[in-house]
Amino acid sequence: MAEYKKPTTEAEFAANFHPKKPLMTDTEAYYESSRCLYCYDAPCITACPTGIDIPTFIRQINNDNKDGAAKTIYDSNWMGHACGNVCPTEELCEGACVYNHSDVKPIEIGRLQAHATDKVIRSKKKLFRTGKDTGKKVAVIGAGPAGVSCACELRMLGHAVDIYEAREKPSGLCVYGVAPYKLTNEEAVDEVTYLQEQFGFNVHYSKPVTGRADFEKLEKDYDAVFIGIGLGATSALGIPGEEKQGVMGALEFVEVLRNKHQATPAGNRVIVLGGGNTAMDAASESCRMGAESVTIAYRRGPEEMGAYSFEFDLAKKSGAKALFNVTPMEFLGDGNVTGVKFIRNSSVNGKLEVIPGSEFVEPCDMVLLGTGQGKQVKLLEQVPGLTLDHKGRIVVNEQFQTTNAKYFTAGDAMNGGVEVVNAAAEARRAAHGIDGYLKK
C-alpha cells in the first residue's frame, strides 16, 4: 500500500499533511465569492448551527471589505476561523448550497470564511468594542471552543472573565484533537490570541480545576462559573491486553501527532477500532505517517458508522481499508501488541450477535482506539447539585444553566461531543444565560 512515504523531515510531514482546505489567495476568494447567488433566506444560514450570515460575508469579500466579512462571521460565531477549517461543511452550509441542486459545485463557504478571518487575525484589526463594565466576574473553566466563545460574548456584555485552562495552550481539541490537515496549532492559537486582544479576558494556563477546593474558590471569587471542560480521555474497552505497548486512544495519538509531527511514534500495521469521525481521522493520519497497512475495524456495517461519509472516503483515499461486523476480543503480544483477536458478528434487528467459531487474528503493531471519549464524571461530581444524565452529560435548562444555579455549561461536556461549531453556538447562548442570571 503505502500511498504515503513515512515522513522524516518537517517538510515531508507538511507535504503528507497538506491542508484539506488550504487558505485561499485573494484571487481565488474573489472568483469563488463571485459565484454566490445571494439566495433569499439562504439555506446555508439555516444549516449553520451558529447561523452566520453567509451570503453577506461572501458579498463583502467580493466587494473588497474583508474586515466587514470577518465581522459578519464573528458576529455569529467566535470560532469563525477554526470553524471555517474544521467544520463538516459538506454536511452543513456547503451541503445546503442550492448549487447542489443543479449539479454545480457548491460555494466553498468554509474556505471563504477562513480567508476572511485569517486576514483580520493577521492584521490584528480591532473589530469589536466590549460592553460597559458591569462589575460582575465570571470564571470559565476550559479555554476550548466553548470556553473562549462564552468568554468573548460575556465581554461583549460587559462582564469580566477569567479562563482557567488545564493545558499550556488554548483552543482545546482544535490544538489537541483535530486532524493536522484541517487546522494547524498556529492557526488555532492565533485566533484565540486575536480574540483575547479584542476582548481582554484573562487566560490562566496550566491551571486545572481538579477538585472540590478549586470549585469552592471559584464560587467564592466569581459571580458565575461556566464549565467548558469538554470530554475526557478515550474510554477503555475493558478487554484483555489493553495495557500492551502500542495500544492507545486515537485522540491521544492525534495529540502527540499534532505536537511532535514526524517524530510521533506511529505504527507500520495499524488497526483503528471504531466507526466515528475520530476513528476516520486516526486512520487517515496513520496512512499519512507512512503505515504499510491501516485497517479500520468496526462492529457494525458501513451504513451504521457514525462518521460522515466524506471522512470515511478520505480515509479510504488515504489508503485505509475497512473490516466490518467484527468485535475485538483481545490484544495479543508480548509486551508490544502484535495483533488483535476479532470475532465476526452479525447485526440482527440492530442487535449484535457473535458468530460462534469465527474468531481470527489480524496482525498489527499499533492499535488506535476510536471508540469514544469518557465523560469527566468524577470531576463534575465535585460540583454540588450538578445533575448529569445517564450518558454523563451535564443537564441544563434553556439558558444553559445547570441544576446548580451558579454554573452554566455548553459544548462537549453538555452535548456529549459534537462539532466545534455546536460548542460555539451553545456557548454564545450560555453567555446570555449567564448575563440574565447576573442581572437578576
Binding site: 474573489y30 472568483y31 463571485s34 459565484r35 447567488l37 445571494y38 439566495c39 433569499y40 433566506d41 439555506p43 444560514i45 439555516t46 447561523g51 450570515d53 453577506t56 467580493n62 442550492v98 448549487y99 441542486h101 443543479s102
Partner: protein, 449 residues
C-alpha cells in the same frame, strides 16, 4: 454555405468583421496579423497631425469576476508620423487585396483634409472614415465629437472630403448627442456614402476612493474618457436602429459598440448594419476571437437559410415600433418549472421587493420552491431574468391572441386615463399589499437591521 462577403457602400471585404479604429489598428503589423487571423477589414487608427499621449490611458468596469464589461480610454489619435502609416497601408494592401483597409482621419482645415484624403487614397486605402466622434482630448481642439455634435460643421467637412475622395466615405458618429439621426442626416446631406456608429460615450469609469481621483489616473489627476465594451452595446444597437429606420438617413451602416461574438454581429445586422467593427473584445482577448465569430455567423446563416448578409440585414427593423403601437391585450405570466428550481428564491425576493409581489413562498420551510400568484403577475419578466437556472422560469402566453388594442388606438378612441384618479388607471385593480404589512411580515434571520 453562407456567403459572408460584405459590401458597404462599395467597400468590399471577405466578411463583415472589421477592426474599429483604435489601438488594435495602430500599425500595419497588427492589421496584417488580424487579416491573417481571418478579420475582414480594418479601420486604421485615426491619422492626422500626430499627438502626444499620456501614460495610464485605460480604465475598466469589472462586474464581479468578469473583467472589462465596460472600458474607457483617454488615448488620442495616432502618435506616429503620417508617412510611416501611409507606407504600412501600402504594404498591407499589397498583401491583402481582398481585405478592406479604411483610413480613419481627423484634421482641422480644408487644406489638411484635402491633403490627407489624397495621401491615404494614394497609399491604397479602400475607404475613408471621418472621425467625428472622439469625445476626449481632440474635441477640446475643435475636432472629433466637437464636429459630430455640430451637424452644420459636420456636413461642411464631409463636403470638403467628398470634393477629393475617390473612395467611399464613412462618417463616424458620436453618441454624445441627444438625437443621433441629426448628425446622420447631416452626413447624408454632405454626401457621405455610409455612416459608422457609435463612437465612445463620454464617461468616468470609476473613482479611486482612496486617492479621490477617477480612473485612469495620470499623476494624481484624471479626465473623462470614452466608454465602450459590452456594456455599451444596448446603446449602440438603439442608435443603429434609429439611423436605420430614419427615412432621411438611408445610408449603409457599419455597427460599432460592444461587439465581441457572432451573436452580437447578428444583432447589429438585424438592426440594419452591413458590417460591424470590433475593438474592446480584441483589446481583451486578441485577434483570435475571430475563430468563434466566423463559424458562429456561418452556422446561424446556414440554419436560417440566409445566403448573404443582405438576406437578413435589417430584418428586425419592422418589429421595432413605438410604444403606443404595442398590443395591450397581449398577456404573459411567469411559470416556474419545479423540477428545475434549485430553491435560491431570488425570483421571490426580486418580485417581492423589486416588482409586483406576485411570487409566494411555501408555508413549509423545507419546501424552497416558490410559486407564482397568477392574479398578481403582470408579466414583467423580472423573475425569469434573475433566475440562475436555464429555462426554469418561462413566460407563458395567457391571452387567446384574438384581441389587439394599442395605446394609440385607445387614445384615438378617447379611452385612456386623463385625470390623476381616473378609473381607467391600469393598476387600479391590481392587488397591492397594505403598507403596514411590510412591518408585520416575518423576516428571515439577519434581515432586520
Amino acid at each position: 454555405m453562407a456567403d459572408l462577403r460584405t459590401n458597404l457602400a462599395g467597400i468590399k471585404s471577405p466578411n463583415p468583421f472589421w477592426l474599429a479604429s483604435a489601438p488594435p489598428t495602430n500599425s500595419g503589423y497588427q492589421i496584417m496579423k488580424a487579416f491573417d487571423a481571418g478579420w475582414g477589414g480594418a479601420v486604421w487608427k485615426t491619422l492626422g497631425v500626430p499627438v502626444v499621449n499620456v501614460s495610464s490611458r485605460y480604465g475598466s468596469v469589472n462586474y464581479r469576476d468578469k473583467r472589462m464589461v465596460g472600458f474607457n480610454n483617454i488615448e488620442l489619435i495616432t502618435d506616429r508620423p503620417l508617412k510611416d502609416n501611409l507606407r504600412e497601408i501600402s504594404e498591407v494592401k499589397k498583401r491583402f487585396q481582398d481585405h478592406a483597409v479604411i483610413a480613419s482621419l481627423m484634421v482641422e482645415t480644408k487644406e489638411e483634409w484635402h491633403q490627407i484624403v489624397r495621401d491615404v487614397v494614394n497609399a491604397g486605402a479602400d475607404g475613408i472614415e471621418l472621425n467625428f466622434g472622439c469625445p476626449h482630448g481632440m474635441c477640446e481642439r475643435g475636432m472629433g465629437s466637437a464636429v459630430g455634435q455640430e451637424p452644420k460643421v459636420l456636413q461642411m467637412i464631409v463636403e470638403w472630403v467628398k470634393e477629393v475622395a475617390k473612395v467611399p466615405v464613412i462618417t463616424k458618429l458620436t453618441p454624445n448627442i441627444s438625437d443621433i439621426t441629426r448628425p446622420a442626416r447631416a452626413a447624408r446631406a454632405g454626401g457621405s456614402d455610409a455612416i459608422s456608429l457609435i463612437n465612445t460615450i463620454q464617461s468616468i469609469v470609476g473613482v479611486d476612493i482612496d486617492q479621490f481621483v477617477p480612473y485612469p489616473i495620470v499623476d494624481g489627476k484624471s479626465t473623462n474618457g470614452g466608454y465602450c465594451g459590452p456594456a455599451v452595446k444596448p446603446i449602440a444597437l438603439n442608435m443603429v436602429k434609429n439611423c436605420a429606420q430614419h427615412p432621411e438617413v438611408n445610408l449603409p451602416i457599419s455597427g460599432i459598440g460592444g461587439v465581441e461574438n457572432w451573436r452580437d454581429a447578428v444583432e447589429f445586422i438585424l438592426l440594419g448594419a452591413t458590417s460591424v467593427q470590433v475593438c474592446t473584445a480584441v483589446m481583451h482577448f486578441g485577434f483570435g476571437i475571430i475563430r468563434e465569430m466566423l463559424p458562429g455567423l456561418e452556422r446561424y446563416m446556414d440554419e436560417k437559410g440566409f445566403k448573404t448578409i443582405e438576406d437578413f440585414r435589417g430584418k428586425a427593423l419592422p418589429n421595432i415600433r413605438h410604444w403606443e403601437d404595442l398590443n395591450l391585450k397581449y398577456k404573459v405570466t411567469a411559470s416556474i418549472n419545479e423540477s428545475k428550481c434549485i430553491g435560491c428564491q431570488l425570483c421571490y425576493t426580486a418580485c417581492e421587493d423589486g416588482a409586483h409581489q406576485a411570487i409566494a413562498l411555501s408555508s413549509d420551510p423545507a419546501n424552497r420552491i416558490p410559486s407564482i400568484i397568477d392574479e398578481n403577475c403582470v408579466g414583467c419578466n423580472l423573475c425569469s431574468l434573475v433566475c440562475p437556472v436555464e429555462d426554469c422560469i418561462t413566460m407563458e402566453r395567457r391571452d387567446d391572441g384574438k384581441e389587439h388594442l394599442t395605446w394609440g388606438e385607445r387614445t384615438a378612441a378617447g379611452n385612456i386615463p386623463k385625470t390623476f384618479d381616473d378609473p381607467l388607471a391600469g393598476g387600479l385593480h391590481h392587488w397591492v399589499p397594505e403598507p403596514a404589512e411590510a412591518l408585520a411580515k416575518k423576516k428571515p434571520r439577519h434581515y432586520k437591521g
